[in-house]
Structure formats: structure tokens, C-alpha cells
């Protein structure tokens, strides 16, 4: 019997018991769509976490000063004033795994522009800050190396700051007063949105670190050094090179603790994606169980079907059907059930993910892999759970099958 005829007779057999076929398929439909939705939710979560972390730059290291210790009393991290401009220059020069370095200082205060004012943070940076943070100037331009060397009073506004200080005008070329020091606005940053902690990253003003050190914080010590490794894989190397270099420069004895801390975005990213991966696997395996139950449903119905149609099997054998023909017939029926269920389930899963996305505002991502996987799974289930009943049918004795009442 060729495949077309087998398929036709499978469809006819399934049509004969529409309700039963539908209910059997429903098991697979629910299983497959659950797998699709769960994978979509898991991958959506993973994607949004990754995106938030990537927004910081995955190959970024932040060197901050260690704790200040006065007579056994330790203050919080970053309180020590041990990082200097020279440290930053040395890192740039002597660590081969380091690509870019941006020394950082920080200030804050009330900013005034015309009749508007706004309280925000001021970050002193090097020229490569934007490249390290994968950020761009929206309009205008960034300050130059020359500005930094000469400690020019120029600044670049974050989008939030620009919107608040200049609600109806182009800030580029205008002057803002930061703690009464006039700064010329040379550019406005692109909007970056919230970071992983929900802080508005656009509520900031960037200025040359030299200017901030001299005019706003009155200290030549750095609050942080932002470093980018040559590649995400080079982070570990960069970290150890920086550690060695700074320990040497700060003359720290072998058994003493570092007087600085290096924070690593990649570690954070790895931990976060590992968590979302576990979430994905957990959700998918729970959904997979329902797919398995659907498969058992197919097996159950096929067994009933073989018993019910014993006489038909006998008739077919008496007119020349081989065991192989009967096996194929029932296997194809199981396969059609699971495949149709799989296709409907994929459609339902995609629709369901969309609904969840729009109602619960949870990001969902449907990957081709999850569709291929579900499709493959439903074929596998059809074959696996269809084989036993089909084999049972194929091994029937023709006489017994014919005489079966």
C-alpha cells in the first residue's frame, strides 16, 4: 500500500470518530502549546536580562577604591581615596587585555538653566566613556581629548536632564550652571532608559573628569576607573592584569588585602542568564510532562482502536495486507494524530505567547528552535506511542482477527 493511500485511509479512520480524535489530539495540542509558551516566556526573560546587562557592556570592568580603614573602623566600599589618574593611565598602558579606560569622578548638585533647575548627578569621564558603555550622542557631539586635557567647562546632558532643563529648545550651545559653575552644553546623549535596577540612566550629566575634579569635587582622586576588556573572553585576563598592576603600584604586601575592588559585568550576566536558563528548563520540563501525557493518550486511543477494528484488520489481512501494511496503517494514524495536534499546538502556543506578552507585559520570544523541537517531539511521540498498538495490530492472527466479534 503506498503512502498516499495509507494517509487517506488514516484520515478517513480518524474522521470516523471525530470527537475522539479531537480529544486525543487535544492532549498533544495542550502539551505542545504549553512547551512553546513556556520556552517563549523563559527565553523572553533571558533576553531581557541579557539586554539589560549588555546595555552596560558585557566586557566592562569597574575598578573602585577599597574601603577606608581608620583604627579598625571600616567605611563602605569606594570610600578610600586610593585610585589616581596615574593608575588609570598605567592600566591603559600596561595591561594588554584592556582595550579602553575611562577615569571617573563624580559630583552632584543643583543644575540651573535659565528659569529651570534640576538636581542630578554629574559624572566626570574620559573621552572613551561612551564607547565603553556602548552609548551614543543623540545630537551635538562629545567632548574631546583636548577638552579633558585643558579641563574645559563643557558637558553633555542625559536625555532626562535635557528634557527638564530645556523643555522647548535645543540645549546644544546653551550654558548650564552646575553648582554655579557655568558649563557649555556640547551634546545630548541618546536615550538609554532604565538599568537593571530600575534607575533612570538618562538622569545624568557627563563632563571631562579633569573639570569635575577641579571645579566640582575638588579632589584629584578618582571615584572609579571604567575599563573595557578587548573581548568578553578577555575579562578574566584583564581583571588579573589590573589586580597585579594596582597591587604593585599601591605597594601592597603579599598577604594584605587589595585596596580596590574590581566589579565584573560578565559575572553578573552569567549568573543572571544561568538563573533564567534554569527557569526556562523548569518551565519547559513541566510542559514536557503534559506532552508526555498527551502521548499516552494517543497510545490509549490507538489500543482501543486496534481492538475495535480487529475485524477490519482481519478483513484486510485476508485480502492480502501484510503485517507491514497493517503496522504502517496504524502507525500513520498515530502519527497523523500527533502531527496535527503538534501543528495546532504550535499555532496555539504562538498565539498564547502573544496574548501573555500583551496582557501580562512579560516579554516572550518564540525561537525557531522551540518550534522545530515541539514539531520533532510530536513526531517522536506519535511514533513512540503509536508503535506498540500498531505492532499489536500487525501481529494479529488473520483467522482470530476475522472471527473476532
Amino acid at each position: 500500500m503506498n503512502i498516499t493511500n495509507t494517509l487517506l485511509s488514516a484520515f478517513r479512520a480518524l474522521k470516523r470518530n471525530k470527537m475522539r480524535s479531537f480529544l486525543t489530539m487535544l492532549g498533544i495540542i495542550i502539551g505542545v502549546s504549553a512547551v512553546i509558551v513556556m520556552l517563549a516566556i523563559g527565553q523572553g526573560a533571558k533576553f531581557s536580562v541579557e539586554q539589560q546587562i549588555n546595555a552596560l557592556g558585557t566586557n566592562v570592568l569597574i575598578v573602585i577604591p577599597g574601603t577606608q580603614q581608620t583604627g579598625g573602623i571600616r567605611v563602605g566600599a569606594g570610600s578610600a581615596t586610593t585610585l589616581t589618574e596615574d593608575d588609570a593611565l598605567a592600566i591603559q598602558k600596561e595591561c594588554p587585555a584592556v582595550a579602553l579606560v575611562s577615569p571617573g569622578t563624580r559630583g552632584g548638585g543643583q543644575v540651573i538653566a535659565g528659569s529651570q533647575n534640576w538636581a542630578t548627578g554629574i559624572e566626570g569621564t574620559g573621552p572613551d566613556y561612551l564607547e565603553i558603555r556602548k552609548w551614543k550622542v543623540g545630537y551635538g557631539e562629545f567632548y574631546t581629548e583636548q577638552d579633558i586635557r585643558s579641563a574645559s567647562k563643557v558637558c553633555v546632558l542625559g536625555k532626562t536632564v535635557a528634557d527638564n532643563l530645556f523643555p522647548d529648545g535645543n540645549p546644544v550651545g546653551q550654558t548650564v550652571r552646575i553648582r554655579n559653575v557655568p558649563f557649555k552644553v556640547v551634546g545630548v546623549l541618546e536615550q538609554k532608559g532604565q538599568n537593571a535596577m530600575g534607575q533612570d540612566q538618562d538622569d545624568i550629566i557627563l563632563a571631562p573628569y579633569t573639570t569635575v575634579a577641579r571645579r566640582l569635587s575638588w579632589s584629584s582622586n578618582l571615584r572609579q576607573i571604567l575599563v573595557s576588556a578587548t573581548s568578553p573572553a578577555g575579562i578574566a585576563a584583564a581583571q588579573s592584569q589590573i589586580t597585579d598592576l594596582l597591587r604593585m603600584r599601591h605597594k601592597i604586601a603579599a598577604y594584605d588585602q587589595d585596596d580596590f575592588t574590581i566589579r565584573n559585568q560578565a559575572d553578573l550576566a552569567t549568573a543572571a542568564t544561568a538563573t533564567t536558563d534554569i527557569l526556562t528548563y523548569l518551565l519547559a520540563s513541566v510542559a514536557g510532562v503534559s506532552l508526555l501525557v498527551g502521548g499516552i493518550g494517543i497510545m490509549n486511543i490507538m489500543l482501543v482502536s486496534v481492538t475495535e477494528r480487529t475485524r477490519e484488520i482481519g478483513i484486510r489481512m485476508s485480502i492480502g495486507a501484510r503485517s507491514r501494511d497493517i503496522l504502517t496503517q496504524f502507525l500513520i494514524e498515530a502519527l497523523v494524530l500527533s502531527l496535527l495536534g503538534g501543528i495546532v499546538g504550535i499555532g496555539l502556543g504562538i498565539a498564547g505567547s502573544g496574548v501573555i506578552s500583551s496582557i501580562v507585559k512579560w516579554p516572550t520570544i518564540i525561537s525557531v528552535l522551540s518550534i522545530v523541537l515541539s514539531f520533532g517531539f510530536s513526531i517522536g511521540i506519535g511514533i513512540f506511542f503509536g508503535f506498540y498498538p500498531a505492532r499489536k495490530a500487525a501481529l494479529l492472527n488473520p483467522i482470530d482477527a476475522l472471527r473476532y466479534e
Binding site: 500500500m1 489481512m317 485476508s318 485480502i319
Partner: protein, 262 residues
């Protein structure tokens, strides 16, 4: 149409279609051995119309199953067209059933919810006939049994006699060497029975070998040869010198009622 020439070209050593030698069949039911057949020898040539008779338990059904390659003998040999059927595998037996044997059963054994023509086409699905050929052969077979105008009817829309004709058409469609009919009139009224026997006699007239199992003596009267089974052995094997013509018998029968038309 199936003609005697179709068979002539096969060419066989001894010309016997079926030759059976000391055939025995023993069933083991728990600790009890049931001897259904106790040594049967017989030969059937092409073009014969044999009625196999006997009470229930006489072994005739077992014999029929072995003839139809649905069952294998315990001892003895069964040669069908010089092939020793006892030595064939399950698949080879299926092929023989498909190509050389046409079955007609007491209960018709048509697939329900499958039209007459599709039922007739069924054996061709298991051989290598093309789709166009299938339809043509099935139509020919239905014409032969006089049902050319009901090809799209479902079994439930046909009378018993018509269903049995569909079954006969199905048995004929692969041009088999023998048509085996197991109590083909058992579920039919006497007029329809004679009608079905008329179909068999016409087919036999065209050269088709027919072997019929029945326990009704008046049905056996339509055959050319009568074999009687009792206790697993052949008790009588004789030519029927007074073969009745079904077409004539039916003229003398009162019309009880028209066949149920749908």
C-alpha cells in the same frame, strides 16, 4: 473480464490447481489436543466448482482456512499451483491471499462506511495496481456481479444480497486462481441465496474455480462436485451429476419481496 486464457498461460506441471496430501491440523487447547483434520488428501483442477459439506465440527472450516492460506497445516502438504504453501512465510502467504485467492464470507466482511467501489478496490491497494487501473478493474468486477450502478453505495445502503455481490466482486478483482466462499448464503434468504449461487455459476462458466463451504444440501446442488467432511476426514467425494442451474431455479421461485432498495 477474466477469461480462461488468463489461467492457461500460467502453465503447471501436473495441471492440478490444488493438490493436498495427508493434511492434518491439530489444535492444542491447554492440555487437550483437538484433531480438526486427520489426514485429508485431494486434488482440485482448474474450472471446478466444489461444494465442501459437513456438520459443524467436521473440520470443513479448518480445511477452508488452510486452503485460504489463513492457517498452516500441522502435517501434510498443500500445493497451490505447485507451490508448497506450508513452507511460506507470513508475508508470502499474504501475497498469495492477495494474488491467488478471493474470499467470500458468510458475514460479507465489507468495511463499513466505505463505498462499494472502495471495498472492491481494497485488494488492489495491497498489490501494485495504479490508481487508474484500480478503478477500472473494480468497475469491471462490480459489472460482473451486476452492481455496476451502485458503486458509490455504502454497505449499510445495500441489501444482504447486494453486499454479498460486492464481496464477490472484491474477491474477483485481483483475478484470483480460486474463489473461496465460506457459507456465502448463510445470512441470506432462500431466493437471494439462489441469486448469489447464480453469480457463482456464471463466474464458474467463465472458467473461475470456485470452492464453496456450506452445510445446506440444496446449496451444494449447484456445485459440480461435492465433498463431505466428517470428523476431520473426507467421507464422500463425488461428481454432482444432477447440477442445478440457479438461473432456472430462480424462475420457479415465488417472489417473496423485492430486495430492499435504498
Amino acid at each position: 473480464m477474466i477469461s480462461p486464457e488468463d489461467f492457461a498461460e500460467d502453465g503447471h506441471a501436473n495441471g492440478q490447481l490444488i493438490s493436498i496430501d495427508h493434511l492434518a491440523k491439530t489444535y492444542v487447547l491447554g492440555e487437550v489436543e483437538v484433531h480438526a483434520l486427520r489426514g485429508v488428501s485431494l486434488a482440485i483442477s482448474r474450472g471446478e466448482f466444489v461444494a465442501i459439506m459437513g456438520a459443524s465440527g467436521s473440520g470443513k472450516s479448518t480445511f477452508m482456512n488452510i486452503l485460504g492460506c489463513l492457517d498452516k497445516p500441522t502435517r501434510g502438504t498443500y500445493m497451490l499451483e505447485d507451490v508448497d504453501v506450508g513452507k511460506l512465510t507470513r508475508d508470502e502467504l499474504a501475497r498469495i491471499r492477495n494474488r491467488k485467492i478471493g474470499f467470500v464470507f458468510q458475514g460479507f466482511n465489507l468495511l463499513s462506511r466505505t463505498s462499494a467501489i472502495e471495498n472492491v478496490e481494497l485488494p488492489l491497494l495491497y498489490s501494485s495496481a495504479s490508481h487508474g487501473n484500480r478503478r477500472r478493474l473494480a468497475l469491471d468486477a462490480l459489472d460482473m456481479v451486476g452492481l455496476g450502478d451502485r458503486i458509490d453505495h455504502y454497505p449499510s445502503q445495500l441489501s444482504g444480497g447486494q453486499q454479498q455481490r460486492v464481496a464477490i466482486a472484491r474477491a474477483l478483482v485481483n483475478s484470483p486462481s480460486i474463489v473461496l466462499a465460506d457459507e456465502p448464503t448463510g445470512n441470506l434468504d432462500s431466493r437471494t441465496s439462489v441469486d448469489v449461487m447464480d453469480v457463482f455459476q456464471r463466474l464458474n462458466g467463465n472458467g473461475i474455480t470456485i470452492i464453496l463451504v456450506t452445510h445446506e444440501p440444496d446449496i451444494a446442488e449447484f456445485a459440480k462436485r461435492q465433498i463431505v467432511f466428517r470428523d476431520g476426514k473426507i467421507r464422500a467425494d463425488k461428481r454432482n451429476s444432477a447440477q442445478k442451474r440457479a438461473s432456472e431455479v430462480i424462475k420457479g421461485m415465488p417472489l417473496i419481496e423485492e430486495e430492499v432498495e435504498s
